[in-house]
């Protein structure tokens, strides 16, 4: 995916970090989202046509993507455009702050687009309406077909400026697309933009595929496939489409995940009824055994500094979550609550572990500190599992299945997201039924 975009941050007009009046607190559920006006980006009259791109509509479309992104956070309330009081081009030069305050907006985004010499140049500004000043101004140049990504990058920059956290809009989700009756599901690897746009299918559905996960640079995916009826962990290069088996194991390998530096794949290997955790160095192909226990050890996930691993084991009799040093030493059980636990995933911020909890016939997605304290259950449902973190560690995406009737009808699998505050639960739209989501890191860093 390296080829897809080269974006130059052209010039920074101003960045004022100090003392803005508006600041969005994302550490708790926000019941009073910030009213924000996203003015359509105006098209510079020097603009040229580019292929089939309807550049006249581009300004409008980009502003709509930004609005949709902001709305999805639950932290912002994008105002309706028909109440807007100034033309986009004039507002972009300098807004009449008192007029925008009249429609209760607290922040305003304006912008300008030029398509020239087959390049798209987008310039935008964020205005603090209460303090009557500019908070941020940036400009990007890229190829015109990348216009959706520009909208996501602008969203990230503004989110960052207003919340003090990095954004998660210029990202992708890889997942398993599902079709067909429950007992004959056809599953394919699929990838899409975080907002559900641009779905591409990476496998044909000839064999069962499960649990895809990105490497840190989002170019490689590790997943499990039943190719030739041999369940093994595979590596897929998204750009070239080349797939290869990971390691040379004489049995099932599963539950793969990359190390935070992308140099290793960690996974389970099952032999003679016992699953243990192994890692493989991608360059040297050296395989290292990390756990050696007669119980099931699976679902390993590294801490972001690579020093620790959290994993799932039933060595106590039932599924619980454990941590250990990445060499397998200092194994420590961290879950003791009632119920059983699975799918631990370490937050990219390092502070929390997300998990699935099963208790009295219900499934929960929750988070806890990495020592097992401070457990918080975010959502309860009939069936849900497999949380994956947004790159800023603020949102979890997971999948949820519905109950089926005696004929297997009524079964669905869908992606959902929820903030770690427990608020803002949302259906993530996909073209087909979907499961096993994995969130990429930011595509442009």
């Amino acid at each position: 995916m390296k080829k897809t975009i080269i974006i130059f941050i052209f010039f920074v007009l101003t960045i004022e970090n100090a003392f803005s009046l508006i600041k969005v607190d994302i550490t708790r559920g926000n019941l009073d989202p910030l009213p924000i006006a996203v003015s359509p980006l105006h098209i510079d009259n020097k603009s040229e046509d580019f292929k089939s791109l309807k550049e006249k509509k581009l300004g409008e479309e980009i502003s709509k993507i930004i609005e949709k992104n902001f709305k999805s956070t639950g932290l912002f309330n994008p105002l309706k455009k028909d109440a807007f009081v100034q033309k986009p081009d004039i507002a972009h030069l300098k807004p009449r702050f008192e007029d925008w305050r009249l429609i209760k907006a607290q922040a305003l985004i304006t912008g300008k687009i030029v398509v020239k010499d087959k390049k798209l140049k987008v310039e935008f500004r964020l205005w603090d309406l209460t303090a009557a000043k500019e908070m941020l101004a940036l400009s990007f140049t890229t190829t015109p077909t990348n216009w959706r990504r520009v909208a996501h990058i602008i969203s990230d920059k503004i989110y960052e400026r207003l919340t003090g956290e990095t954004g998660y809009f210029d990202t992708r989700i890889i997942y398993v697309s599902e079709k067909g009756p429950k007992d004959q599901r056809v599953k394919k690897l699929a990838i899409m933009d975080q907002d559900g746009h641009g779905t591409k299918y990476l496998t044909l559905g000839n064999e069962l595929v499960l649990t895809p996960r990105f490497n840190p640079t989002n170019q490689l995916v590790t997943y499990m496939s039943y190719f030739k009826n041999m369940p093994r962990v595979y590596l897929l290069d998204i750009e070239t489409g080349i797939q290869e088996v990971v390691g040379n194991f004489p049995g099932m390998t599963f539950a793969p995940r990359f190390s935070p530096d992308g140099k290793k794949i960690i996974m389970s290997f099952a032999k003679d009824g016992n699953s243990d955790i192994y890692s493989m160095d991608m360059e040297t192909r050296v395989v290292e055994r990390i756990t050696d226990h007669s119980a099931i050890d699976t679902s390993p996930s590294y801490s972001p500094d690579g020093k620790y691993i959290c994993f799932n084991s039933d060595r106590s009799g039932l599924q619980q979550i454990y941590t250990m040093r990445s060499d397998g030493s200092q194994v420590k059980r961290i879950t003791f609550g009632s119920g059983i636990y699975g799918t631990p995933v370490w937050s990219p911020r390092g502070d929390l572990i997300a998990f699935t909890k099963m208790r009295k016939g219900k499934f929960y997605i929750g988070v806890m500190r990495s020592d097992g304290t401070g457990e918080r259950l975010l959502t309860e449902n009939y069936y849900q599992e497999a949380p994956s973190w947004s790159p800023n560690g603020r949102v979890l995406i997971f999948y949820r299945e519905t109950k089926s009737d005696s004929k297997g009808k009524g079964f669905t699998a869908k992606l959902w997201s929820i903030d770690i505050t427990g608020y803002n639960e949302r259906l993530v739209k996909t073209e087909t039924d979907a499961s096993d989501p994995s969130w990429s890191s930011l595509l442009s860093k």
Partner: protein, 159 residues
């Protein structure tokens, strides 16, 4: 009084019908699972006459019940008689667990069956195992009965 006795008969018939149907539901429930393990025959196929192809497990467990061991001894006898046969044992889990753990659990169940066949004289070289976790339910319903039928290991002729 003729009317009365006719009514009486009718009530009697009705009562006994209710009694029978009550019996049959009670009987059905007790036949289907014992201690969370499916004991019915609805989904079972046969490797040969009198040789069931599958055994069932309790939730999150991979231990073999007396009944399962009986089935596996029949399979072992059959396989010892048919020396050229090789088999694949598929291990499965129900849908009420996390996907990755279920893959491991299916593998453990298939190996529990394999180990037992080996104890009864079938060479391990003739048996391969594969786990499907919760991916291939035999009964797609979301009910305790369906889940008990799906927690299984199935011996399939491979040649």
């Amino acid at each position: 009084m003729k009317f009365n006795s006719a009514l009486k008969n009718f009530v009697l018939v009705l009562f006994s019908t209710l009694l029978i149907s009550a019996c049959s539901t009670a009987k059905k429930a007790s036949v289907d699972t014992v201690d969370d393990v499916y004991t019915g025959t609805d989904t079972v196929e046969y490797l040969a006459n009198g040789v069931p192809d599958r055994v069932f497990f309790a939730t999150n467990k991979s231990s073999l019940t007396t009944r399962s061991r009986d089935t596996l001894r029949k399979q072992a006898t059959y396989l010892r008689k048919n020396k050229d046969l090789t088999v694949t044992i598929e291990g499965h889990a129900d849908e009420r667990g996390t996907r990755e753990y279920n893959l491991a659990l299916g593998e453990r169940r298939a190996n529990a069956a394999k180990d037992y066949l080996m104890t009864y004289g079938v060479s391990g070289k003739r048996i391969s195992v594969i786990s499907y976790g919760k991916e291939k339910p035999v009964n797609p319903a979301s009910s305790p009965l369906a889940w008990s039928q799906n927690r299984r290991s199935v011996t399939i002729k491979a040649n």
